[in-house]
């Protein structure tokens, strides 16, 4: 979700195999660099593989360009990597959030074959996605300060996750 010169990215903490819970502290959101985070929902093995490939490509980029990747560029990279596997996709929906030039927040989500969806307010992904659309639509206000943004994101996440059997066990929220 986007705030005033800041963004928030949040995920739940459950890892499960259909109805059995394997872990209750699973980290779904990973840092690419200080101003860019990616959350990967879906099949855990695909999200780990995809994350490792992205970190690899970002490190190569850093070596070549001697700077960090901009969020817009990174989103195109993720989209290309996912579309490459169009007919045998990764079962993974990424949510990308970052600060681009002049601290302007950038958020984006994709389906599992890389169709980018840029939004100015919020993006959602995962099994509780439909419920999250409703919660965020109702609770979002433009230009929220970081503290207020934290509260809003947490409430939206917790309320949607409470109505979904496959998500739960609290949440991780990153405000940047």
């Amino acid at each position: 979700m986007v705030g005033k010169n800041c963004f928030a990215i949040a995920s739940d903490r459950r890892l499960g195999v259909q109805l059995q819970t394997i872990a209750t502290d699973f980290q779904r959101i990973s840092k690419i660099h200080d101003r860019l985070f990616i959350g990967l929902s879906g099949l855990a093995t695909d999200s780990q593989t995809l994350y490792q490939r992205l970190v690899f490509r970002h490190k190569l980029y850093q070596l070549r360009e001697e700077r960090d990747m901009k969020p817009e560029t990174f989103a195109s990279l993720v989209s290309a990597l996912l579309y490459e596997k169009r007919f045998g996709p990764y079962f993974c929906q990424p949510v990308i959030a970052g600060l681009s030039d002049e601290d302007k927040p950038f958020i984006c989500t994709m389906d599992s074959i890389g169709a980018k969806e840029l939004a100015k307010d919020f993006v959602v992904a995962g099994t509780a996605g439909e419920s999250l659309y409703g919660a965020c639509e109702a609770m979002f206000k433009p230009d929220m300060e970081p503290d207020e943004l934290f509260e809003t994101v947490s409430q939206a996440l917790l309320s949607s996750v409470d109505r979904d059997c496959l998500s739960g066990w609290g949440g991780h929220v990153y405000i940047v």
Binding site: Q18, F56, R57, L82, F91, I113, G114, K116, K141, Q155
Partner: protein, 260 residues
């Protein structure tokens, strides 16, 4: 992708190495198949006196949920050629981006403005190569040295050249408007209002189309991209209070990190 160079960017094209695994997973029923974002759309184009007008709605759906209320379906191909896309969102974006780059390289090579038939041939041969599995249905329009052109391209690679065209799930609703009101030699204002009417008819009568109307007017040497030209679906009854939560959220553990 080969085993030795697993991370190195490949030469291009699709890679099929996860197909066997995905097949096994879907047979075992462990993982539900992913739903792709479609643009269940209304896209239209018509030729008027001085050029081409393209129009599109702005709704993107994933299953029966609207996942983007204001997406862009009119894609840039060349300064004088634009393309509307319906079908699977990733496919339309990828195929139009790719052909747009190929057109740019062709322009550098020949030193001339791109022609609409060039874009048409590149798109149709690409879509035919994948035998319809790349699900992109496109309305391509532009004005080049030989005049205004409008084409439709179907996912399997067949094309039509028409004075007015509609594609997408709302195509029947929009075509009804065109068939009754289109005539040769429309002016720009008449053309724009006819396209708006056709898209609105798609928006209100088709469940897969909605939100706003985007228009692109291409004439010789000039183009106008009217993003959100009409907003027939504003969000009404917004609660002025909003939701505000008191500072404390239960059970949080806050860690502040500063960049190193």
């Amino acid at each position: 992708m080969d085993n030795a160079n697993i991370g190195i960017p490949p030469k291009g094209g699709f890679s099929f190495d996860l197909c066997r695994r995905n097949d096994m997973l879907s047979k075992k029923g462990i993982v539900p198949p992913p739903s792709y974002r479609k643009t269940g759309t209304t896209i239209v184009g018509l030729i008027f006196q001085n050029g081409v007008i393209l129009g599109a709605d702005t709704r993107a759906t994933a299953g029966s949920i609207v996942c983007d209320k204001n997406c862009e379906k009119i894609h840039y191909m060349a300064p004088n050629i634009y393309c509307c896309g319906a079908g699977t969102a990733a496919d339309t974006e990828a195929v139009t981006d790719m052909v747009s780059s190929q057109l740019q390289l062709h322009r550098y090579h020949t030193g001339r403005e791109s022609r609409v038939v060039t874009a048409l041939t590149l798109l149709k041969s690409n879509l035919f190569k994948y035998q319809g599995h790349v699900q992109a249905a496109l309305v391509l329009g532009g004005v080049d040295a030989t005049g205004p052109h409008l084409h439709t391209i179907y996912p399997h690679g067949s094309t039509d050249t028409l004075p007015f065209a509609t594609m997408g799930s709302g195509s029947l609703a929009a075509m009804a408007v065109f068939e009754s009101k289109y005539r040769e030699g429309l002016t720009k204002e008449e053309g724009i209002s006819l396209v708006c009417e056709a898209i609105c008819s798609g928006i209100f009568n088709d469940l897969g189309s909605g939100s706003n109307v985007d228009i692109c007017v291409i004439t010789k040497g000039d183009k106008e991209y009217l993003r959100n030209h009409q907003l027939p679906n504003p969000r009404t009854y917004i609660s002025s209070k909003g939701y505000s939560f008191p500072k404390k959220t239960e059970g949080t553990c806050i860690t502040k990190l500063f960049p190193t």
